[in-house]
Symmetry: C2
Subunit: 339 residues, 2 copies
Amino acid sequence: MKKTLREVAKAAGVSVTTASTVLSGRVDLYRAATVHRVLKAAEELEYRPNLLAKALVQQRARTLGLVVERHQGLLSRNPYIIPIMDGILDYLIPREYSLVLISLQESSEETMSQRVFNSSIDAGIVVAPLEDSPLLQWHAHSPLPVVFVGCMSQETDAGACVDVDNEAGMRSLVEWLYAQGHREFGFMGGSQKQWSARLRKQSFLNVLLDYGIPARQEWMVEGDYTYDAGFWAGEQLLSASRLPSVVVVSNDLMAVSFMELCRAKGIVVPDQLSVTGFDGIDLGQHTSPTLTTVSQPLHEIGHIAAEWLLKGIDSGERVHGRKLLAPRLEIRESARVIQ
Amino acid sequence: MKKTLREVAKAAGVSVTTASTVLSGRVDLYRAATVHRVLKAAEELEYRPNLLAKALVQQRARTLGLVVERHQGLLSRNPYIIPIMDGILDYLIPREYSLVLISLQESSEETMSQRVFNSSIDAGIVVAPLEDSPLLQWHAHSPLPVVFVGCMSQETDAGACVDVDNEAGMRSLVEWLYAQGHREFGFMGGSQKQWSARLRKQSFLNVLLDYGIPARQEWMVEGDYTYDAGFWAGEQLLSASRLPSVVVVSNDLMAVSFMELCRAKGIVVPDQLSVTGFDGIDLGQHTSPTLTTVSQPLHEIGHIAAEWLLKGIDSGERVHGRKLLAPRLEIRESARVIQ
DNA sequence: GTGAAAGCGCTAACAG
DNA sequence: CTGTTAGCGCTTTCAC
């Protein structure tokens, strides 16, 4: 059924070594006639190399693992992962690497070891783990290269992370809002276990501080980045004695549901209340009003993560470094000028 | 560094065979003491089996491939794939199978063989290939089990497909529109190379026929399921001498951009024109107006495809059969009653 | 109950 | 230039 190298070698009348070498492209080592016989035999037999065997002997699976925790629900509920996947794949495909999806239902150390380090991957990309995730202790469990996306690894300098510059993004957004005349800021954050949520909140507060604007407690609420959170955290915020002029929401998904809540309550966005998001997911372009937000170069993040890992795999050197990519302020309809 | 079975065996003072057998769970074959020694050694050495080696010897990689063509662009542009992936993963994870993503930039027979059959998968799930895709000739190239999603395989009875019942879905939608008083139907189809697009269009026409409503040519346009197509195919439709009362769009993505086009042109949906979609992607719930559509049980489709394949792999029998899942009519805001 | 031996399909020294 | 030899780490008859 499935043809092996040995059969090709036999058909070509050469040794397995010769067949292997020729088929791996080092063609100049052999006589043209030999090369030709091998190539022809392989062609005729429709030979397909067994990558498993190759991986075993070379100790290299040519496969990366994309590890996502599912505390936030399914992939469908984490729309920002998809463009990252595209970026990874675009880099991997021409280099003949594969991507396996590792989705952790619960991320105990146990499951992590089982599912992540048992899988035959050469390296991993970990997306947005929570602060207490065992995934952050990756290197304590495995020598495999890893790049963290959407967070900074705890480890002093051993880790590698690529992320959007959350601080710069939040700053540019708030400064822009200030320039539009906003002076009363509400904020809906994400779980403080989420690295990006902490940074965004901190940065928001810093900018307010710079402007000498006090952060009013009843306008500060905390959700968990999920669609549902926009509603329940939103309810809390809207119950304040008075509304701010703008609510800065820490991610797009919550911003979208928060806008829906506003509509349901008869609060017109942006006329009565401005709302902004963060991430730049596609959805924000289709809501009404469209969402003013800070967009992440997600495709590029995936690309860079993959690039670093392949380099690390090839060189055998540890992958480390931190790269913060520039965010882009997307000015759309959900935030308005205050006279 | 990485511990092997041999080291475990040595540490436990048993043979590799014994260690292998014990660790594979057939514990009753050995003396309790032996079992215990092996287990303890494995634990202490933090032994992780090399799945590559296991796969090689068992001729089973415990991996499924999700194959998508990229004629429609990146994954980010095919939002319906994500819930399918979730469905597959939910089935695979507890069964210790992995999922690798195979995204074909161009699907010549060449790349298909290279990328699909070269990858170490035990079976494949092919999502919505075009009519002329070599992927449909899967069995001519490989004995591996495959399930087609979102299309029927050409092969007489050899193939396996799971899909939403496009005909029933379209019928229920059009019948509902008729019941709302609509008599003038426009239609924006997908590429006729796409199986689902053909079915949906045919079914649409059939229902009109049943009602004795003529299909007016200037109200029939064809896009290609992409976001952009909603605009260009939409332009064409809106240039008709007169507008229908409703435009039935063949997928949600085009319906969304078509609604945006209408808004840009000052045509109020649904007051001046009703619009409906098909697929039930999340986006449709967040547009304004929200999109009336026919939703597919995508998670279930993924689940069933994975289930069939694992059964096929285990039994060694060819996977075949066709399963059409019931669609659900989602009545939202974009289509209205005609007095 | 347990172990020796063979081999999955391939690559990589090392001879010749 | 080409072939022989030795494994990669594991499972699996088949003896003992």
